[in-house]
Every structure is written in C-alpha cells, then in structure tokens.
C-alpha cells in the first residue's frame, strides 16, 4: 500500500496537467435548416389597403446579415385568392416593413369568404396561408370609471373602463385597444393608450393590446374591466376587433416570446404561432367596431 500511495498522488496531480483540461466545450451541429418565405399580413374588413410583408427566415447561426433587420424578399409574387379565384395581385413597393400592397376601390368586406394568400419566389418556393373574413363584433358600451381600477398584487392602475360585448355563439376572439383619436387638418392621428386587465379571459397582446378569448362567455353578453392610468378625455375610443384564432395566437405568442427574452435561459421556450404552409409568419383577418368611451 505504501508503495502505491505515491503513484496515486502522482496520478492525482498529473491528471490536472493536460493541455486542454479545462477546455470543456465542443462544437456541435445545429438542427438542419432550409430558408423559407415569411409572410405577414393583417386584413380588416374595413381596410381599403392590403399590405403584405414578405421576408425570409435564416438558420439560427446566420447572424452576419441578420442583425440589421429582416431580409426582405422584393422579387417574389404575392397573390390573394377569394374562394379559390384570384382576386388581387399585390405589387412590390420597396417600402418596409410591408413591402407588397394593393389599393382597393372600396373597403375589403368579404364577410364569410375564404381567402388564400400565396407568395412565391424562385429559390424559396411557394408559401400559402388561408383565412376566412369574420363579422364585426357587437360592442355595446365602454364606460370610464374614475378611480375604479382593481388593485392586484403587483400593479395598481387607478382608473377603469368597463366594456360590454355581445358575444355571438361559436369560437370568438377579440383584440381591444384604448386609443385617443386627435384630428389635425382633417387627418386622424391615433395614439395608443396602455391598458391592463386582470380579467381571467384576457391576456396581453402586442402593441399594448388586450386579447380576449370568448370561450367562457360564448353567446352571452360580457363585461370586462380594463385598467388604465389615462384620464378621461372625450376623444378616448375603444377599438374592439373580432379577430381570427390565428391573429389571436400569433399576437399572444409573439408577445410571450418578447417577454421571455428578458429571462433568457430561465424561461420556457415560446413557439410563435404560424399558419403559413411551407413558410412562417401569419396571415390574419379581423373586423373592427369602434365606440367612444363614456364618462361615468
């Protein structure tokens, strides 16, 4: 035993002498990737312009060109089909972020019709997505309640706005925004006002919007409370949009993704919703109702 001890001590010491002893990283291959078309288009029944943003995705390690913004695809073809028939061909505009558009003679309309958006490009192939235009929501009232906000554990907004919706039977999703419309030289400028809600049917959406899943009040009238620190103003309005499920899921998941970026490895990964076949992004439709906020 006494003879062995020095051998073990030598082994113990020498084992830490290797050239790359503390080099504990190895390069590994990422998951396989193929560049794809990325479509973003949001159409409301009252719009007279249809915009499409057409970009492309890249592999997760391709950062050289990607750090400076989306890679726009301006040499593609973008077409919109209504119930299987080509309705519009969108033209490239060279603008960003929506780089294809078509101007309509009237509002989009199309209630109940099915639309297919098809984008193609020589090397990236063809990507498609489908939507059905939905009916505008029935927005009954929006009433401002000074100091009526419900405090929660983590925030306290002083004022409340009670919004009543007449929900139709079936699967319904909504997006709510509180805005202040100011008119200057006949041009309406819309300012978003930040709102929150502790209602269990709501979740936070992008651009300060509140998303509502109508499943729990299907076919009923429902009043939910928004909280805001905005003071009452006669120009305050509520935009209530009936939105497709794809709009709802995309807005919710992209919001969650953005929020999770703050927590990096500690947050669970978020799959951003897509309804694009052979591509990424979203083609979404909605219909909007607008109402002024009444003073209590």
């Amino acid at each position: 035993m006494k003879k062995l001890i020095p051998i073990f001590i030598a082994l113990f010491i020498c084992s830490s002498c290797g050239e790359d002893f503390f080099e504990t990283t190895l390069k590994v291959d990422p998951p396989p990737h193929e560049d794809q078309l990325v479509i973003h288009s949001f159409v409301k029944s009252t719009d007279s312009l249809v915009f499409v943003s057409l970009t492309k995705s890249t592999g997760i390690l391709e950062t050289t060109n990607y750090n400076y913004g989306p890679i726009y695809v301006n040499d593609g073809t973008v077409e919109l089909f209504e119930n299987g028939t080509l309705k519009y061909t969108l033209e490239p505009t060279g603008e960003e972020p929506f780089n294809y558009k078509v101007e309509l003679n009237d509002v989009f309309g199309g209630l109940g019709n099915t639309y297919e958006l098809k984008a193609s490009q020589d090397t990236l192939g063809t990507a498609t997505a489908e939507q059905t235009m939905i009916a505008p929501p029935a927005l009954v009232s929006a009433v401002f309640d000074e100091d009526g906000g419900t405090p929660s554990d983590y925030y306290y907004e002083s004022n409340a706005i009670d919004i009543t919706i007449d929900d139709q039977s079936g699967e319904d999703f909504y997006e709510i925004r509180l805005v202040q419309e100011d008119t200057f030289e006949n041009v309406i400028y819309i300012n978003n006002r930040y709102v929150e809600s502790v209602d269990v049917n709501t979740s936070q959406g992008l651009d300060g919007s509140i998303l509502v899943d109508g499943a729990s009040f299907d076919g009923d009238s429902y009043t939910l409370e928004l909280q805001t620190n905005t003071s009452w103003d006669p120009n305050l309005k509520i935009y209530l949009r009936a939105i497709s499920k794809d709009w709802f899921l995309y807005s919710k998941s992209l919001y969650d993704f953005r929020e999770s970026e703050d927590f990096q490895i500690f947050a669970e990964p978020v799959t951003v919703h897509t309804n694009v076949q052979n591509g990424l992004g979203v083609f979404a439709m909605g219909a909007q109702a607008t109402i002024s906020v009444d003073e209590e």
Binding site: F12, G18, V28, R177, I265, F266, T271
Partner: protein
C-alpha cells in the same frame, strides 16, 4: 367530501370479500404462532425483510421494517430457518405445541473467510416475491461505488438502476420511468424529504454513514404507498448499536463525517448521532479575506453545507419500542463586504451583504406496539420543514446621509403528520397491512420583504418598507389503505390493495380511490411471471425550471384551478435466479399521467405573477422495457441494468398542443456496476453508464416577426421583433452521455480500529459530456470575419479523489 364513485363499489366489495375469505381461511385449530424480532447479533440493528421459513411445510414469511416477523404453522415438529443476505443462517428445530416468541440474532458473515454453515439458507429469491419493480440496494454496496469527489451518494447510486435516470451531469434528481423528480416520494424514516439536494443538486442530503437501508419502488406500488406518481424511495436510518459503542468517520476532499452509536442502557436504549460538514469555506477563508483586502476593503464569502442525523430508540418491553429520529441539514452561501474611502475630503462607506440558505428538518416519533403475536402496529408523528431564504442588503453612508436597500425572500413548506400502520399475519398465506394517516401541509409560496430608505441631512427623503408575495396555503391530506399479500396455491401469489386519499383545501376537496394489484405466477423451471397495476394520485408539485436544481424551486399544492396529478401504470415481467446468485429480471411497463404541471411557454420562476397564472396542465405517457441482472453475493458483486424507454408530454398550451418528447426521454440507458474483493484488504469498484442524449429545444430558424401598430394600414407602420422559431419542443438531442468511474479501497485492521484509504476518479477517461448548449462567436484571424457557432459545454472532466475513513 364527495361520495365515493359508484363505479368503485364493485372494487370495494370484491376486495373485502377476498379479504375476509382469506383471513378466515386457515384459522382452524391446532395452529400456533412463532413471532419475534430478527436482528443483527453484534449491533442489535433490526433486519428488514429477513426470512423465516419452515422447510417442512414450505411456508415462510419476512420481517417488516422494524424487524418483526410472525408465522403461524400447524402443531407439528417444525424446522424454522432464519436468514438474511450477508448473515449466517440460523435453524431452529421445534415441536410446535404453543405460541412462541423467538427473538433471533443473526451473525454477519465475514467476507472471504471460511464460513461455518449453521444452517442451509433459505433466501427469498426474486422469483418468490410478489412485488415487481422494486430494488433493494445494500448500503455496503453503495459505499463501494466510486463517487464524485469521493462523497458517497445514496441517490446517485439509485440513478444506476434501470428505469431511473439522472437529470444532468452530477445532478442527483431522479427521473423514474418518465416521471419528474417531484413525483418521487423520498422518505427518511417515514418522513417526506422535500429537497434532497446539497450544492445545487450535486450531492444528496443523505449521509451514507447514518443510513441502514435503501429501497426503491418504481411500479407495482402496494396500497400502503401514496401521494406521488412515479416512485417511493425509503431510506431508513441506523438505530444505533444496542450492545456496544462504535463509531465511523471519514475525511474527504470536500467534507468530513463522524458517526457514533451505542447503548445508553444495554439491550434497552441506543443512540446514533451522525454529522457531516463541508469545509472549503474554512480553508479558503484567509485567501478570500486577503482578496477583499487587496481590493481596498474588507469582507468574507463562502459556502458550506452540513447534515446532522440523530436517532434514539428505547425498548420498553418485547411489546413496546419507541424511536425518535431527527435530520437537519442546511446549505448556506454568504458574502459580506465593507469598503471605506475618501474623495475630495468627503468620506463614504459601502456595506454589502448577500446570503442564500436552504435546508430541511425532519423528525419522527414512532411507537411500535405488539398487540398480539400476529398483530403489530406502528404509530408515527412527524414534522418536516423545507425552507429557502435569501437576503440582499446594501448600505451606503456618506457625509450628507445614507442609502439602504434590502431584499429578503422566504419560501418553503411545513408538514405535520400522524399515521398508524398495522401488520397482521393471520397465517403464512396472508400478510395484511392496513392503516391511516393525515398530513397538515403549510405551503409558503414566496414572500418578499423590501426595504428602501434614503436619508439626506438627517431626514428621510425616501422610505419604503413593505412585504409582497402570496399568502400561505393550508391543506390537509388524508389517506387510508388496506392490502394483503396472499398465497393462493403453490404457484400463485397476489398482493391486492386499496389506497384512499383526499386533499382538502379551503374551497375544494379532492377524493381518490386507487386500486393496486401485484400478481406472481410461477412457471416451470422456477421462472416467475409477474404483473402489476397501480393507480396513483399526487396533490403537491414542484414548480421548477427542469434540470437546473435550484433551491428556489417551489413546492405548491393542487388548488381549485390546478388539479391533482393522476397516473395509472401496468407492468409485466419475468424473474429468475440463476445458479443461486444471479437475479435476472425483465420488465415492460406502460404509464399514463394526467394533469401534469409545467410552466407555460415563456413563463419563468423569476416573474412575479401569481404562480397559477404561469402554469399549465397536460398529460404524459411513458413506456419501455427494463433488463436487470444483479449479483449480491461473492467476491464479485454488482449489477447490469438496461432500459429502453419512451416518454412523451402533451400540453394544450405548449408546442401548439402537439405531443413532444419529455426532456428526459432517453431511448437507451445502460449502467454497469461492479465491485470486486481482491482480498480482505483491497477491493475495487467501477461503474460505466451510457445514456441517449437529453432532448433540448433549439430554434429551427430565425426571422423577424411583424405586427401592425394602431395606425396601420393608414400608415405602413409596424413593430418588428427578431424571433426564434421552434418547430417542436425538445426537438434536438444532445450528444450521448457516457462515463466511467473507478475506485479502489485499501482496508486495514489496526489494533483499535479499521481504516480505509479510498482512491478513485470520476469520469476516468475524461469524456466531455453535454451539460448545456450555447451559441458563441468565433473570429477568424485570416479572413477577419466572425461566425456564430453552436457549442456544447461540459461540466466535469476527470475528477480524482481520495478519502480516509475509519471505523472503531
């Protein structure tokens, strides 16, 4: 409380009919009972699952966890053999004409020495037992397994068994048959241990010197167990030598241990005390203080953990014994720094304090009572506490005033419990267990104390002193069970039982009835065909970002919104002992789990949301096959375990509702454990493990998400956000994991003690095993371009160890 579902009534009727029929059977006259305790002759430690077997009638029984046995036989001459692995068997030839009490003391076998055969051994072989999916790992074997930094670890030894996986490199979390670590009921002397980890999961809280027995059950759960879906790990502390004083200790690289045990009153009262503490903080203290001083200030920092186990038992009579056991352990990280300076004639002083601590306390008071020679009871009162706290304080003092900021956080769980268990052995064909219990849980989901105070010219300019967080939750968990180990004819054995549980919150009660069944049928050539069915329910869960093993992990109850988790599992297997020493089993299993809990996409434990808003519930499914060969006797001991398995999760709000592989879905998992006694003085041991790489979620591609702002489409305006796209959760496999550990022990008996030098190495061939993946920038000097690459980080290279231990 809801009424028991009518669909359960036939199960009740069937079970109770069987029960009464069975206990009535064999109650005829001219039968007598032999009962008593089976214990180690030298230490007086009670032997668990020791055998008492009548070779004439070919009937036998086993001792319970308190060493008690009872066997009722016809009035006749009987030849009773008492045996236990590692002990010399003892034979009694008797004319049984009255009830007898025989307290048996078995002498340990001395390894590699000539053994005088006192009696031919009858040992209950794997094919004899009804239960399947259960493994006993002798603590002596665990102590020989080479370990990280030489620190013997009970839980890491269990990870080497088939059906059990580790979470990540060095972690002691157990993933049993596709379940998560919170689905394991870890019992230390019958008390649940909520956080079994030291040092962020690299070491377990169980000091092997204080442990007597370890048993893992991963399926075919008997009715006496409940409360978790995936496994039960029973760890029993030593009782303390009742005959003479002994001790053991060790000095290792990171910790030292000392255990003493002995009689307070011989044959009546014994005590065992065991402690362990790390000392890197003490050794490094001068260096750390010097480092602070060199920076111009003063301070200290360090980390340590400790454990203390204590147990005292007193024998009032042959009918009454009392045990009191306690465990307490804590991890603590601390940092204190003070810095003083002057600038332009103004002096200032900064103080910073940071503390992080977590730990468990468990204690149990147990009373054994022998009502008759066939009816044994154990009454237990327990207390268990897990708490985590952190403190951060910063104080600055300057000529005009001072600033103070402090943040404290406290979370944890307290349990008070009481239960009573009965063992009733009416005849050799039945071993009936029944009992009931109640646990009062107090969950502390997390409380923040915040202090923020600024003082200028003697007057407070800003002052906030508040407490934020979620209220404590109280809940009661009730349970009752009955089970019978039945022998129905020569070839058929059955363990049938019912477990009832209920969980009561302020506004909701969840009842549950869970049938359990284990069947063994002996095929020709002594091959046992075994099957099992078990339904389980779990009312508590651990909210954790899987795999990291942080002490911030929160134990939380089922609530009105968060439903209890349920599972059902079936198993089918074959078992046989070859050549009297190789236990071979092959088992297939299928398990479905519902109402599993996971963080929603994007959620994190760091957020301050109500935890119920951050979680989602879904289902899981796992299935596979396990192959196990174990050799417990001889110079060469050890096992080979192989698992082929699949494990899936489906959560409506995760992965777009599509099924995805569980993070610890591991297709192949192989462990080889061997130790060899070269001589009385030298033994070597080695392990080799191989496992399919863990599943991780990597983005498939990246793009910019676009969302129109409120002025769209009147203006071509939108918010854009760089977005990673994950096609599927857990879509990428890290590299396979494999590692070999080798150790050698040199044992020498001295005049007053035995000492052992242990040497070895963890990860002997320095395999760079995956710990996590990350992206990195690589700069090419020749082209001047940088490139993003994906890299795998490893944690432990080869880590040699040595350890000195002694016994006296």
């Amino acid at each position: 409380m809801q009424k028991i579902k009518s669909s359960y009534r036939p199960i009740f009727l069937l079970f109770f009919s069987l029960f009464f029929l069975a206990t009535a059977n064999g109650q005829g006259k001219n039968k007598f009972t032999i009962s008593g305790y089976i214990e180690d002759a030298t230490s007086g430690e009670k032997l668990i699952s020791a055998n008492a077997y009548d070779t004439k009638s070919e009937n036998g029984t086993v001792s319970n966890i308190y060493g008690f046995y009872s066997i009722t036989l016809p009035s006749d001459s009987v030849v009773i053999t008492f045996s236990y692995i590692g002990y010399q068997a003892l034979e009694y030839r008797l004319l049984l004409d009255k009830d007898l009490v025989i307290n048996v003391k078995l002498e340990p076998e001395l390894s590699l020495q000539e053994i005088t055969v006192v009696a031919e051994k009858y040992e209950e072989r794997i094919e004899e037992t009804t239960r399947m999916s259960t493994v006993d790992v002798p603590i002596a074997q665990i102590k020989k397994i080479p370990a990280l930094l030489g620190e013997v670890d009970v839980l890491k030894a269990l990870q080497l068994l088939p059906g059990v996986q580790s979470g990540g490199e060095g972690q002691n979390g157990l993933y049993v048959r596709g379940g998560s670590p919170d689905q394991n009921l870890i019992l230390l002397d019958g008390v649940p241990v909520y956080n079994a980890s030291h040092l962020f999961g690299f070491f377990s809280v169980f000091n092997a010197d204080a442990v007597k027995d370890v048993k893992l059950t991963k399926g075919g759960f008997p009715a006496r167990y409940g409360g978790r879906l995936s496994s039960v790990i029973e760890i029993n502390m030593k009782e303390g030598n009742i005959n003479e004083w002994h001790g053991a200790g060790s000095i290792g690289l990171i910790a030292s241990k000392l255990t003493v045990e002995g009689p307070i009153k011989k044959d009546k009262t014994s005590i065992m005390l065991s402690g362990r503490r790390t000392y890197i903080d003490i050794l490094a203290k001068p260096l750390i203080e010097k480092s602070f001083a060199e920076g111009g200030g003063s301070g200290t920092a360090g980390y340590f953990f400790y454990d203390f186990n204590g147990k005292i038992n007193h024998k009032f009579s042959d009918k009454d014994r009392l045990y009191f056991s306690i465990y307490t352990g804590k991890d603590k990280f601390y940092l204190e720094e003070t810095y003083k300076d002057e600038f332009n004639g103004n002096s200032f002083e900064d103080e910073t304090e940071f503390g992080l601590g977590w730990g468990n306390i468990t204690s149990a008071l147990r009373w054994n009572h022998l009502w008759t020679n066939k009816l044994f009871s154990n009454t237990t009162l327990t207390f268990s506490r897990y708490s985590f706290n952190t403190k951060l304080r910063s104080y600055s003092e300057f000529d005009e005033g001072s600033d103070e900021y402090a943040l404290g956080y406290l979370s944890g769980i307290d349990d008070f419990a009481g239960k009573i268990d009965f063992d009733y052995v009416p005849n050799p064909s039945h071993f009936i267990r029944f009992g009931a219990g109640i646990i009062n849980h107090t969950f502390k989901p997390g409380k923040f104390d915040i202090l923020f105070e600024e003082i200028e010219n003697g007057y407070p300019s800003t002052s906030i002193d508040t407490t934020l967080g979620q209220a404590n939750i109280n809940a009661q968990e009730f349970s009752a069970y009955i089970e019978d180990d039945m022998k129905l004819g020569k070839n058929l054995k059955l363990n049938a039982g019912l477990h009832f549980s209920a969980f009561r919150l302020k506004d909701k009660t969840y009842p549950s009835l869970q049938p359990r069944l284990n069947v063994r049928y002996m095929l020709p050539a002594n091959v046992a065909l075994k099957g099992s069915f078990a339904m389980m329910r779990q009312y508590v869960q651990l909210l954790t970002n899987e795999g990291i093993g942080l002490p911030t992990d929160l134990w939380l109850p089922s609530t009105k919104r968060v439903k209890p988790q349920d599972s059902w599992q079936v198993g089918l297997g074959l078992a046989k002992t070859f050549a009297g020493k190789y236990e071979v089993s092959i088992e297939g299993y299928y398990k479905e789990m519902t109402n599993l809990v996971a963080y929603k996409e994007g959620a994190s434990f760091i957020t301050l949301n109500d935890w119920e808003d951050d979680v989602t519930q879904g289902d899981g499914k796992s299935y596979g096959a396990e192959f196990f060969v174990q050799k417990k006797k001889g110079r060469l001991t050890g096992w080979v375990g192989y698992t082929l398995s699949w494990s899936w999760r489906t959560f409506p709000e995760v992965n777009l509702g599509e099924r995805y592989p569980f993070k610890y879905d591991r297709r192949h998992d192989l462990s080889i454990v061997a130790s060899y006694e070269i001589s009385d003085r030298i033994n070597i041991a080695g392990t080799w493990v191989f496992g399919t790489g863990n599943a991780v979620t990597l983005a498939n591609s990246q793009y910019y998400g676009v969302f129109p702002d409120v002025n769209f489409p009147n203006f071509n305006s939108a918010r854009i956000n760089r977005t990673d796209f994950y096609r599927n959760r857990n879509n990428f496999r890290m590299n396979a994991y494999h590692r070999m550990d080798i150790g050698i022990n040199f044992v020498k008996k001295k005049k007053r003690h035995t000492r052992t030098w242990s040497f070895g190495a963890y990860n002997t061939y320095n395999q760079k095993n995956p710990f996590f993946l990350f992206t990195d920038e690589e700069f090419n000097l020749e082209t001047g371009e940088s490139k993003t690459v994906l890299k795998q980080a490893s944690l432990f290279p080869i880590i040699p160890y040595f350890n000195y231990s002694f016994e006296f």
